[in-house]
Every structure is written in structure tokens, then in C-alpha cells.
Symmetry: C2
Subunit: 231 residues, 2 copies
Amino acid sequence: MIFRQLFDVDSSTYTYLIADEITREALFIDAVKNRLNTYLQLLRELDVKLIKAIDTHVHADHVTALGDLRDATGCITLMGEQSSAPCVNERFADGDMIGIGALKLQAMYTPGHTDDSYSFYLQADNRGYVFTGDTLLIRGSGRTDFQSGSADAQYDSLFNKLLTLPENTVVYPGHDYKGWTSSSIGEEKHHNPRLQVKNKEAYIELMNNLKLPHPQLMDIAVPANQACGKS
Amino acid sequence: MIFRQLFDVDSSTYTYLIADEITREALFIDAVKNRLNTYLQLLRELDVKLIKAIDTHVHADHVTALGDLRDATGCITLMGEQSSAPCVNERFADGDMIGIGALKLQAMYTPGHTDDSYSFYLQADNRGYVFTGDTLLIRGSGRTDFQSGSADAQYDSLFNKLLTLPENTVVYPGHDYKGWTSSSIGEEKHHNPRLQVKNKEAYIELMNNLKLPHPQLMDIAVPANQACGKS
């Protein structure tokens, strides 16, 4: 596997490039529009061909590069079947396998931050990796107070889906604001303060009392992302 | 191996935590003073004991956490034998092995950015990793115009030392300003624009004509770092 984590400092977004070392087929997760040139440079220099670009959900804090990547490379764009983005070529559902050469990402429907949030599980090179978008963050979780968010649904996504993965699974989140680049399921299970709640009711109460400001870019980013960043 | 890359967004510095999964002994490379609390949290939550903290060189762009880590954990602090930091407990020389449990970092003297710059090579989990400080950056190299820097010496460090490592060696730099988190020796050999020069004279000319501004923090950071960040 060829693997790269990339950081967009403006929105604190992590983007991931995954490629099959043999077939040279590649996939991006959560690419950011204003980083397009970097992505194209990296694809060229790694000598890989982008075949798929996927977003974990319709983002409210940055504009996606899905449409631009499709225009520039001819790749297919994908989002979850619950997504409100009519622009994508294909849709995946819970449990679907997304192939990149011999590699397979398993789509896990993990709603809560939004009603179209997915995580992706990958086994490669004798390790398990999960790309958790804004569902599970390092020592945190994505807010649930807009875009059909639901703390109730997020509790189930976290406790009944993500935390059932093996403890040594590497966690690669969609954002980080404190300089952490990765974690593990075991570490989050034991040390993520939001996952130490007694029950679902306590989680809902915690999430409903965060009193977070309205995301600055939301009114621009959501409509743009529903058009794959091409509006 | 337990491994973590951490990012200090203020100085665009990468810090690395390496630990032996069995003995739970840990080492930091290039820790940043204002991130101390994060490091102590991570050590506690990963259940590892810091035994060594090393800097690749006396930094001019951020203040080191060496002294604070030693105070907080009782770890040993180390720098190269050429370093002007009398505060460290021990010094390493070219070719020395720095142990952390069963893991061994090989010190590679790679002067040029400063006259005390080292890189560290590690083989673990069937891969090679090199921590290049400010000698080799992703698609760049560290400036050579202050702190006894030398483009001549850096050319030798790059071409006669770092680029002789296997091409699939993972490169972890001391900084990145464009959101890249890692690279490989092969990728840098073929695509780093500064490594495409014809000969040493061309490299020296390139480095001597960068016309970079004076580092903002240099007059504060260098004396502070000579005292392990405790001045």
C-alpha cells in the first residue's frame, strides 16, 4: 500500500491518499478544493492513477475537491446513499466494499455528525485502519447540532460500530485542531473524554450542551459541496 | 513499535514519539516547549515511560521542550557532540546507536543547515524510517545561511548520506509548511527540486540565492535552546 496523510492548515482537515503499490490505482478521502494542485503533483510524482475520490460526508467547514479531481483526472466520485450531493457518480451503502486495486475499503455508515456520515475500514500490510471523518476525532467527536446531526445516532455509531473494531486499529480522523495525526481505537475507548459517559442519555446531554459557534463557512461550504465543489 | 507524529502549528514543526511496545520505553525527537502538556498527556495515556529526548539540532524557529521534559519525567536529554547546548546530559556522534528498548536509532551526522545537524535512521516492523530534521524537507531542504550553515556540507549530507539509504525509506522531516506529513528517499531523490542539481557548485549557488528573511524567533530561540529551553 502507498499511503499519505495530508493536512489543510486553513480548515485543519486531513486528506488521505491510498494506492495499490502494484496496480498504481489510487483513491482520495476528503480532498480539499484549494489543495488541488498539491494532489495532482503528488499523483504525478508517485506515478499513481486516481480512480476514485470519496467524501466521508457533506462538509460544512471546507469545500471539497471531488468535482475538480474528477475534471482533472477522470476519476469517479462517490458519497454515501444518504448524501444530498446529486453531483457524485456513485453511491455506497453500509457494508459496501470500495476497491482500489487489491485494496478494499469497507464503508461503515456512522451517522450523527451528519445524517450522511460514513467511516471507512481498511486492512492492509497486516494492520487495520479506520478513517473516521468527523464521527470520531482524536479525544473528541464531531458536533451534532446541525445538518441533521443527532447525538443519539452518533452514540450508536461510536459505541456499537467504531468501538467494536480491534483496539489496535489505527484511527485517522477527518480533522485535528491540536497537532495530533493519528490514534487507535483502544486509545480512544479508554481516553477520549466523550467516550467515558455512562450511557446514551449522558452522551446526548453532553453533546447538546457544547454551545459551539455557528461554523463560519457553513452557508458557503454546504451548497458548494452538494455540487462537489463546482458551484 | 509505538509511533506518533505530532504537529506544532505555530512553528510548523513535527515532533516524533517512538516507543518499544514491549518495554514501554519511549523517546521524543524535536519536542516543542509550548506543547509540553500534550506530550505528558500522550505519555500517560499510551502508558509509556519517556527515557530519552533528543533534538536534531539547535533550533532557531521554536523553543525546545528538552529541559521541561527532563524536569517532568526524569528522562535523559541528548544532542550531537557538535552542539552548542551545554545543558544536555549526553551527546551522540556519527554512527552512534541510540536505544529505546529493543529499538535502535542510528545517529547520522548531516551538517549543513547548522553545523550540529543530525538525522536518525530506524529499522522497525520491516520498514526503514529516517528523521531528517531540517536537513532534508519534503520537496525542499533546510536553509544554510546562518548558525554556521554550509551549502557545501549540506550537499554532502544529502547526496552522500541520506540519498544512499534505500529508496523505500520513509522520510519524516522536522518541518513542513505545505501540509505534507511524510515522503520517501526515492521520492525526494527524483522529485525534490533542490536535489535535481548537476553538481555541488550548482547546489551552493542555488542555496546562496534563496534570499530568505531572517527567522523571526532566532534571537530568542537559539539562546533558549542552548539552555534546553530553560533560559
